[in-house]
């Protein structure tokens, strides 16, 4: 499993804010996803209605999850595939290794899969003498750099073109050192050539799954590069990794969700390749894998059912929430310290690895609500982050200073007269002190604010309540 650095979120975030390369990359990327999504949504008048439908399909499936998983398995078996049920990441790693060993695999190609990041499949295969090769362009460079994705659909979101060129020169040492990368497409062409060899060598191909379909026993992947399809078509064995909440009942259900997915993710009407795989190669087929395995993983999902966090299991991993998040936009994905960044990560990570290590994540939000407003399956992300904050408080995981300040505030908030008196006194004092300059450069107990900007001094005229009372009196007159 990927190491968790979420407890160091504040330090991670501070480092990210001071990293000029990262800030440049975040700045370059920021607008692109938003504009493309807005355009795609504007071109589909039914989009809002489809979001409700997407939410309802997922809710219906989750309420009957046992039935649909059972039905799904029966169809996979009928099509000549295998389903491996795994309760824990350990179980799943063991099953994948066993399949690869039986296949005599030396090289394994991989399509982009967030569940495989969650399981840490690559490290496990490497430790056992099998070479995993990431084939998604972004994942490929991260594997070269020994990094993890910083975004769930654009894994190399944090890199600039210069990083790509430098890494390719450093690691593709068989190519002429003085070759020119005049355009981004030269970088792409080099990766294509390098990876083509790997696709042809691989004994096993591992992909994730965006959906599983109970009606037909199919797994669905969505890509733009075609790497996922080469991964699941050329090797003799295909393994699809999927967590249990990926199942949907029918092709029609999957179709409605697909109308939401690409638009929300990349702002495309449809991804370039949307592929349905059902079982192993048929008798007269000329290509396709001879073995088809689905590794079906619980990995903590069943614990979320029946809780406040069941709604999170609707997530279709489009990344719209992080693309629209001001916090993600400022610090990038690595600061969050585990596999899933941004608002969806701030809800999901505590569910999967525990709130004791991840309490800072649901606090890393301004609650501006943009994430919820763009979520294609209408997950109330701010509400769920608030639930985590409440649990953190109940379990006394909140730092002492914060707890005592909150208690102090609560004491005043329950006593309106004391509250008004205290705010009046504070405003009066601050107004008097700051009258000269009009603002404070620094202020005791407000260092967190004044470190980044000045605090304006209150203007004469009293508190909001005092002004409101005066205005009401004036209106009555």
């Amino acid at each position: 499993m990927v190491a968790i650095t979420s407890p160091a979120f504040k330090e991670n975030a501070a480092r990210a804010l001071a990293d000029p390369g990262l800030q440049k990359a975040l700045g370059t990327a920021k607008g692109a996803f938003l504009q493309r999504r807005a355009q795609a949504v504007a071109n589909l008048p039914e989009f809002e209605r489809l979001r409700e439908i997407g939410r309802d399909i997922k809710n219906h499936t989750l309420a009957n999850l046992d039935f649909y998983l059972d039905a799904y398995e029966a169809k996979v078996l009928a099509a000549g595939g295998m389903v491996h049920w795994c309760s824990t990441p350990d179980d799943a790693r063991a099953v994948v290794l066993e399949i690869c060993r039986k296949a005599g695999a030396k090289t394994v190609t991989k399509g982009k899969s967030m569940i495989s990041e969650e399981l840490g499949i690559n490290a496990h295969l490497e430790a056992n003498g099998i070479r995993p090769v990431e084939t998604d362009l972004g994942e490929y460079i991260l594997q070269l750099r020994q990094e993890h994705p910083s975004h769930i659909i654009a894994p190399a979101f944090h890199l600039n073109r210069e990083d790509w060129e430098a890494d390719f020169r450093r690691l593709h040492t068989d190519l002429p050192a003085d070759r020119v990368f005049a355009e981004r497409r030269d970088i792409l062409a080099e990766a294509r050539t390098k990876l083509r060899e790997k696709f042809l060598q691989a004994d096993v191909g591992i992909t994730g799954a965006n959906f599983l379909i109970a009606e037909t026993g199919s797994s669905v992947i969505v890509t733009n590069e075609g790497n996922g399809d080469l991964t699941q078509t050329l090797p003799r064995v295909h393994i699809a990794l999927a967590s249990i909440e990926k199942v949907v009942p029918t092709l029609e259900d999957a179709t409605s969700l697909l109308r939401l997915l690409a638009r929300s993710a990349t702002g495309q009407d449809f991804s370039v390749y949307t592929t349905f795989s059902t079982g192993a190669r048929r008798e007269a087929d000329l290509d396709g894998p001879e073995e088809y395995h689905v590794v079906l993983i619980d990995g903590g999902r069943s614990n979320m059912l029946g809780t406040d966090f069941q709604e999170m299991l609707r997530c279709i991993r489009c990344a719209a929430c992080m693309n629209h998040c001001p916090v993600y936009g400022a610090v990038g994905g690595h600061a969050y310290g585990w596999v899933y960044p941004g608002p969806m990560g701030s809800v999901l990570t505590p569910s999967l690895v525990g709130i004791d290590k991840t309490g800072l994540l649901p606090n890393a939000s301004t609650f501006c609500g943009r994430c919820e407003s763009v979520c294609p399956v209408k997950i109330p992300l701010p509400k769920l982050m608030r639930h985590w904050r409440e649990r953190e408080f109940e379990r006394h995981l909140t730092p002492t200073a914060q707890r005592s300040n909150l208690n102090l505030w609560a004491w005043f908030a329950r006593r309106p007269n004391a509250y008004r008196w205290a705010t009046r006194a504070a405003i009066g004092a601050l107004g008097l002190l700051g009258r000269g300059k009009g603002a404070f450069r620094s202020l005791p107990l407000a260092g967190g604010w004044t470190e980044g900007r000045d605090l304006p001094a209150p203007e004469p005229g009293g508190t909001f309540m005092a002004r409101y009372a005066r205005q009401q009196r004036g209106a009555r007159r």
Partner: protein, 254 residues
């Protein structure tokens, strides 16, 4: 057993036991009848406009389309496309029965082999089973006559598609598949693989900037065979009917 453990954990979470028989029958009915949800209005158009929408959407996604009156027009269209792109006249072709009726001898310089694709192939000619106007998407189910590798390995993929195989929305294509396709292995209708292809392969992983030609084809060209009188552009609707096509107007259920 792990399966029972996981299903048990799901039921505990949902605070219930196994579903009652009635509920299970209702859900089985939902699977069997697979009800449609909202279908966007954009593809509900007269046939000529539906085909025009398909073409517009392919072009929007950086694919190209050329219309020919019948299958006999394919060799010339292909030869001219390859020449214009400065590509060799050798290609790998889907071993699809419908392609056997094409008069390849009309263009003797075209060289082809009927097989799956290999990494060295530069051009592939694929058989289009259906296409979805809603997003300009080709639907390519795997079959002995339609190998999946033809969609992936060559730098240039050319797809021969009958206009009669263009539908408005994905749901219509699913219903056609259910009606026409028999899969001997599963007893159902799903072949091993179905690729929905919308334009040539691409990546935006470098600085979120789109570049064409990632791991799949760099070019996607559709040769659209106008076998559907009702789908011809309005001005052409009075043209004499094309000569009868080998294999009939609709693709056989392969």
């Amino acid at each position: 057993m792990t399966k029972e453990a996981i299903l048990g954990a799901i039921r505990r979470g949902l605070k219930r036991g196994p579903l009652p028989a009635e509920q299970q029958a209702m859900l089985a009915g939902r699977l069997a009848t697979h009800p449609r949800h909202l279908i966007p209005a954009r593809s509900r158009l007269p046939r000529p406009d539906q085909v025009a929408l398909f073409i517009r959407n392919v072009e929007k996604e950086f694919g190209t389309v050329e219309r020919v009156p019948d299958l006999a027009g394919v060799p010339a269209a292909l030869a001219e496309y390859l020449a214009a792109q400065n590509l060799p006249s050798r290609f790998v072709m889907a071993p699809h029965p419908e392609f056997e009726g094409i008069p390849w001898a009309d263009r003797p310089l075209l060289e082809f082999e009927r097989r799956r694709a290999e990494a060295t192939d530069q051009v592939s000619l694929q058989h289009g089973w259906a296409a979805v106007a809603e997003t300009g998407t080709l639907m390519l189910p795997s079959a002995p006559g339609r190998p999946t590798t033809l969609n992936l390995l060559a730098e240039t993929e050319v797809v021969v598609l009958r206009a009669s195989a263009i539908v408005g929305a994905y749901e219509e294509a699913w219903d056609r598949l259910r009606a026409e396709n028999q899969d001997a292995r599963s007893g159902g209708f799903m072949p091993r693989n179905i690729m929905f292809v919308t334009g040539p392969s691409r990546s935006a992983d470098i600085e979120q900037t789109l570049e064409l030609g990632a791991h799949g084809p760099r070019r996607l060209h559709v040769i659209l065979v106008d076998d559907d009188l009702a789908a011809l552009p309005m001005g052409d609707a009075v043209a004499p009917p094309p000569v009868a096509l080998p294999g009939g107007p609709a693709a056989p259920g392969d």
